[in-house]
Symmetry: C3
Subunit: 155 residues, 3 copies
């Protein structure tokens, strides 16, 4: 299998694989973080989740929303909305023979911007910190999309 | 790198790359559209986002929900729910050696259906316009999934 | 096209294609399931969706939330949050030359865990059933991510 074997031998594809995995792992961290806030603050979305807290007494009171839980959930959804285009466009970009140094710059800036976005969302930092993190990552994906369209449409 | 170099030389893969990038760009448009509605209507989800509006006065009043903001957010989430399966299944489909004309038809119909879905959601158009956009896109992904399973399971 | 042609000839990649398609199809099932609950219980998020129910009378009363609809929507979002990392990391993992038996085990356990998670969420089963389904799937993705980083960073 010539082609298959060689994907992870390509410098750009290997960088894409590393940064994509790191970004997806960071996104995955939001799930246990949500669970941590739910458990420590006793804030649940499902009746069956409250059942282990105080049997016999009314556990319905734990079915509520909480600012810190909703904040983590918004950060998680924003990650999904931005990481999905990055992974899809980035994979095609990595296959479009970009200059290795240019590609590495794209992946690094995106990873840094999304990490900063998460920190700015969760602390939270005053605006426009979070907006900055968002727009830098957004710009990286736009730049890669331009390159993919150029390569795929033979412009 | 024979295989890697040749992915964007393949007619079907190049069409997949173009349409996927266009569909992901359209989905990405929903983020600034949400921000536009939030800023023009002063409707925010985070206290730090309101801080720049009227210092000194009570900015908590801008922490609210708004029909037009929620509508864009529902359209965005519906995009995510449908574009993720398209990109995943479509990539495998593009690697399954479909007839170029058939593949192109799938990609074009999906892109058109999702564009129509977004327009129908945001205007909004009377039902069943939006439902039609949804089901046509859904059907395209199902059709590609059938082909992938057939090819991968050697049916 | 040597490399492209051979992707679906590779045993591991073919298994990845099959399980990914099955997992994405299962996730796609949540959309019609949400629609089914909305239609049978007359619970809608958009005014235009209510218009066909009782013309002339006030249809705004159908603009409401419902526990069973929200439950399906939470299950759908949880799927998105977990299937996106699986597809992204799993694709890179399938390209990292894992032992076929090990790879098959990863894909099968993930598919089984997410199927169980959905059943546990929708019935619902008492906790920690759903948590178990979640953490098993989460662990599979972490294990694949470790292997990808190892291969991509040449550790």
């Amino acid at each position: 299998m010539a082609g298959l074997d060689q994907l992870l031998d390509d410098e750009v594809f290997r960088a894409f694989a590393s940064y994509t995995t790191i970004i997806l792992l960071k996104m995955m961290l939001m799930s246990p973080l949500t669970a941590f806030h739910r458990l420590t603050k006793k804030v649940f979305a499902n009746p069956e989740d409250c059942a282990s807290f105080g049997k016999g007494e009314n556990t319905k009171k734990y079915l509520r929303t909480d600012d810190s839980v909703e904040r983590v959930r918004r950060a998680h959804l924003n990650d999904l909305e931005n990481v999905v285009p990055f992974v899809g466009v980035g994979l095609l970009y990595a296959l479009s023979r970009p200059a290795p140094a240019t590609a590495l710059l794209h992946f690094r800036v995106f990873a840094g911007a999304r990490l900063f976005h998460t920190v700015a969302y969760l602390l939270p930092l005053p605006q426009p910190s979070r907006a900055l993190g968002f727009f830098v990552g957004y710009g990286v994906t736009l730049s890669m999309a331009g390159r993919v369209l150029q390569a795929a449409l033979r412009l």
